[in-house]
């Protein structure tokens, strides 16, 4: 799948693994959840209103377009949450 974000710099950081819909995804220490998702695809979440995928918008914690769910039930804002090794993100619609 085509990716949305392009890494241009800062690629010497240590590697971690984050699971996206169950599939392991390479990520770097200091990546936000949104960066992890958008360096592997073009979707952060699925709109609850039936208009398909969303991928965030303001990236500064203002628009609230990038809230994602983890498999452990937590809801986190993608652009302001730093990814941790082993985190498991769901991009589909989950129960609120």
């Amino acid at each position: 799948m085509k990716q949305q974000f392009r890494r241009l710099a800062e690629t010497t950081r240590a590697r971690i693994t984050v699971f996206v819909d169950g599939i392991p995804a390479d990520a770097l220490v200091g990546d936000t959840l949104l960066t992890v998702l958008l360096t592997h695809g073009r979707r952060v979440r699925t709109s609850e209103f039936g208009d398909g995928p969303r991928a965030g918008f303001c990236l500064i914690g203002a628009c609230q377009d990038c809230w994602v769910s983890l498999t452990d039930g937590r809801r986190l804002r993608g652009c302001t949450t730093i990814a941790q090794d082993g985190m498991s993100i769901v991009t589909g619609i989950t129960a609120p």
């Binding site: 949305q4 392009r6 710099a9 709109s47 995928p53 302001t80």
Partner: protein, 462 residues
């Protein structure tokens, strides 16, 4: 006499300068900020302790010196500040701020004086297709680069108006990201008329001209006077269609669109603190009222600084942050600014204010874009409310205030509280009700000012 308890909200240029000024007078302010490191959006630093290595010159360009000075001054003062990063102020009630930390901790911090420096965000105007993955704000495109070392696309198109349009495109070029073009809604002719005003800050004018020139020298397509029509693509951004000054419709292929029409102040906390607001018809914003020294009108103990009190840029934010702190110190009989310093700040802010006025004329907010949107365009991206629903509410309710229209149409009711759609919603409501924009008022901030997971308010389940 016990020292007043002071809370500063926001650790951008304004909040940092305010806190440092208070510190020099012997106070130990609490400084609360949502980010993980101080600097604000413009001087935002990559995440801490993660191995990011780009030097300030790469991150901040021309502004690297200012960024480094501000960061260094703040970092040196850290042991003497009560600094609470990654913390949201979500309500202000009876002389105390309610906070929620990213780690789940909540607190209630009482204050005798409060300085609000919450900053700004991009002002956007919806267009068909703007909820497709790959459409980001101009500020967002910058943050992806500065904070994460990423471009928002392989071929990014920059659309909108204002200095940030050119700055963001320039930063992408410098980072060797793909830039397919810059589409400015402002007419080219505007520039010559406003040069005298822009000369109020000749250095910034020179930097701005350098940005535009360097884009053109690199062969980047730069078009003025455009009317963006729609973002197109199959499940994600594939291009943008627009109308040029010749009236012809064209399409530019791209995989990311960075869009914005200047900045808008984040005023939700001023609302909760009880500020009065006035409409500024030049910038087309509602601004919290304050006296010339940053004291909020009618709210004793409240001081306003930075872009959250009115967009003026980072240099002005540092000055207005310092000024708000001096006013606070004076009001508590603790210290007074040296009169030379006070005059310097006032003079410099006046010049920057003239520059800002000229910028507004150079890059006018294209309200007509909002007014002319088709009924089926999504206006509220939180809840997928189309423009037509707001227009129908205006017809049903007659002329009415946006808060009433919100209750009836759900525009502005979503998770962002209308931060994103608010300015366009006001223009659409005013135009379809054939009323002056001031008459439709503005969406009021509500607590919590941002969504808070309920885990903040319930105990552990084990």
């Amino acid at each position: 006499m016990t020292a007043p308890r002071v809370v500063v909200v926001g650790a951008g240029p304004a909040g940092i300068r305010a806190a440092l000024t208070l510190l020099r007078a012997g106070l130990r302010p609490v400084i609360i900020d949502e980010a993980s490191r101080a600097g604000g959006q413009i001087y935002r630093r990559p995440p801490p302790a993660a191995g990011f290595v780009r030097p300030p010159g790469t991150l901040y360009g021309f502004e690297a010196g200012k960024a480094m000075r501000l960061h260094a001054a703040f970092d040196a003062a850290l042991p003497r500040l009560d600094y609470r990063p990654r913390t949201l102020v979500w309500d202000i009630v009876d002389g105390a701020v309610h906070t929620a930390g990213e780690d789940g901790g909540t607190d209630l911090v009482a204050y005798d004086a409060l300085i609000l420096a919450p900053g700004a965000m991009d002002r956007v105007i919806p267009l068909p297709g703007w909820t497709l993955p790959g459409v980001f704000t101009l500020g967002g495109a910058q943050v992806a680069l500065k904070y994460q070392g990423c471009a928002v696309g392989e071929r990014t198109l920059f659309v909108g108006t204002g200095p940030l349009l050119y700055l963001a495109a320039h930063q992408y070029l410098r980072a060797e990201a793909g830039v397919v073009g810059v589409l400015d809604t402002a007419p080219a002719a505007a520039l010559a008329r406003v040069i005298p005003g822009l000369l109020a800050d000749p250095l910034t004018l020179a930097k701005g001209l350098h940005l535009v020139l360097s884009l053109r020298l690199r062969g980047i397509r730069v078009e003025n006077g455009v009317h963006p029509l729609r973002v197109v693509g199959d499940g994600a951004v594939g291009g943008l269609q627009y109308r040029g000054t010749d009236g012809q419709e064209r399409e530019i292929a791209c995989d990311a669109v960075a869009i914005g029409y200047g900045l808008k102040p984040e005023t939700q906390l001023m609302d909760l603190a009880g500020c009065r607001f006035r409409y500024d018809s030049v910038v087309r914003h509602w601004l919290p009222e304050a006296d010339p020294d940053g004291r909020a009108t009618g709210v004793p103990g409240l001081y306003l600084a930075g872009d959250g009190a009115g967009i003026a840029g980072a240099d002005a934010a540092e000055l207005s942050g310092e000024r708000a702190a001096w006013s606070l110190l004076r009001d508590h009989g603790l210290a007074d600014s040296p009169s030379r310093r006070r005059q310097h700040i006032a003079r410099r802010l006046a010049r920057l204010g003239r520059f800002r006025q000229a910028l507004e004329q150079t890059f006018p907010f294209p309200a007509h874009l909002a007014e002319s949107l088709p009924d089926d365009t999504i206006l509220c991206r939180c809840e997928m409310v189309p423009v037509g629903t707001l227009r129908a509410a205006v017809r049903a309710l007659g002329g009415d205030d946006l808060n009433h229209l919100k209750a009836s149409s759900r525009v502005g009711m979503g998770r962002c509280q209308g931060r994103v759609c608010g300015p366009a919603a006001a223009e659409i409501a005013a135009a379809s009700g054939k009323r002056p924009i001031e008459a439709v008022s503005r969406l009021r901030g509500q607590p919590p000012v941002k969504p808070l997971p309920t885990r903040y308010f319930v105990g552990p389940t084990e």
